[in-house]
Amino acid sequence: MSYKTEELLAVCIARLIRARPTRHIAVGAASPIPAAAAWLCVKQGDPLHLSLLHKRSGNPFTDGSRELFDLTGQGRIDLFFLGGGQIDGQANINLIGTGAWPGLEVRFPGSFGSAFMYYMSGRTILFREEHSPRVLVDRVDHISAPGTSEPGVFRRGHAQALVTGRCVFDFHPDRGRFSLASYHAGESVESIRAMTGFEFDVPEGVGETVPPSDAELALLRGAVCDEMLETYPDFCARVFERKAAA
């Protein structure tokens, strides 16, 4: 079955979720692909608790907007998603901007909860669809949240992986480096290297990303889309070609 890039990425992320024990995932507002991935795991039968932020009806938090951070501080969030205007080879992320502080060249919106969530979640999947030397840089201009921490700093988790429109990288907090896990159809180790501003390891035998199965695609376009229509109408219309009933 043919598929869209968004569907491939959702399936990549779902596999990363299922690769480790996961009870509770929080997904931010601007993240329809991670949300689709998390729903896919639920629809595949995983006993997952999802907290979808900014969901208008059934917002999961009754203690105000601090509850997500308290919940994560308590160690109850096993997995969070973060992106970055820039992401570097040590998994540092920059949501501040480029040029002098505080982003005098290009200003991004800001760091949101990253300087806490990245440390306090059980693990983080980094996600950025654009894969270019502009985004994946050797060294971020500013660190919103660091990929690793010095001893003496309480840190519960790190990046598990970085998923982009071209490939999946695994992150190794012990050595503070990414390794290529797989490249998507149409890419190669060389094309990934050419489009990546940071150095990364290439394990032997690395190959193409396994494409979505028919079962995965059927779930995405059916039961997953059903759950997402209210919160992400544009995404569902564009990717799954479905509209919410008026």
Binding site: G73, P102, P109, S144, P146, E150, G152
Partner: protein, 273 residues
């Protein structure tokens, strides 16, 4: 509590005040933000709870803001906040970058009447490197943990919108309890509401959990659809088209001025009555 006019409410916020303003998903009073523009407020120091949205961007665009203490300024789906970005580039605005739980923590410290509260994370972030008011200590409990202490943040005024006020001046914000936190942390709270109803929310077990006690509320003004284009719980949704149109218009200073003339000043006679 007798409701006041929006204009009188805006007039009661002095230039230079530190104003806590929740973002688009947390019932901001866009009506009062527009009234502040109309009264040509200057030098406001805005506090994002914990981020900042549409209301902050229009206040910046209108030249009302000297400083933003926040974790992000964003129009959500409509993208980057254009007047925020322009003001930063022009050097007319100071941004004090934070991270969401740090904003909550600083406000909770004020709520609890303590001078500081600790927060994990942060260490190794350039946010911390740029906050000389935050301090890293080694835990005095002998664990060897390095941890950041954040000072209490006491806004002069909390500004938000609520569904309703009652006869006693209590206001009802439902699950948006961050509004209670800023009301507790701030010197004064000015609240716009859709309507005023008879009775006392505190005497109703069903309404009480979503209410804020009148003891924290300094003034109430009726502003129907006062959160728009932001959403208000189950009363009305986020007006994406309105914010998209704003984002396009506000790309340039001239475009913003035109938008503002139409959407802030043309409505003045209606809104202030």
């Amino acid at each position: 509590m007798t409701p006041m006019s929006l204009a009188a409410m805006a007039a009661s916020i002095p230039d230079g005040a530190m104003v806590a303003l929740p973002p688009d998903n947390s019932i901001p009073s866009v009506a009062l933000a527009k009234a502040l523009i109309r009264r040509r407020a200057r030098g406001l120091r805005l506090v994002g709870v914990p981020i900042s949205g549409f209301a902050t961007d229009i206040l910046i665009g209108a030249g009302c803001v000297a400083e933003v203490n926040t974790s992000a300024v964003t129009l959500g789906e409509a993208g980057f906040a254009p007047r925020f970005s322009a003001a930063l580039k022009a050097g007319t605005l100071v941004v004090r970058d934070a991270t969401c739980p740090a904003m909550h923590t600083m406000l909770q410290a004020a709520e609890k009447g303590v001078p500081f509260m600790p927060l994990r994370g942060l260490i190794g972030s350039d946010i911390l490197a740029n906050r000389p008011d935050w301090m890293v200590i080694e835990s005095p409990f002998g664990t060897g943990e390095k941890i950041t202490l954040l000072p209490a943040l006491h806004p002069d005024v909390a500004v938000f919108h609520a569904v309703m006020a009652d006869s006693a001046g209590n206001v009802w914000v439902g699950r948006r309890r961050e509004c209670a936190t800023i009301a507790h942390a701030s010197q004064r709270s000015l609240v716009t509401v859709e309507r005023v109803v008879e009775g006392n929310f505190l005497e109703d077990e069903r309404l009480c959990p979503g209410a804020i006690n009148a003891t924290y509320i300094s003034g109430i003004a009726i502003a129907e659809r006062g959160a728009q284009p932001s959403a208000l719980l189950d009363e009305y949704g986020f007006d994406t088209d309105y914010v998209m149109a704003y984002a396009r218009a506000a790309k340039t200073e001239a475009g913003f001025a035109e938008w503002c003339a139409e959407h802030v000043f043309d409505n003045q006679a209606v809104a202030a009555e």
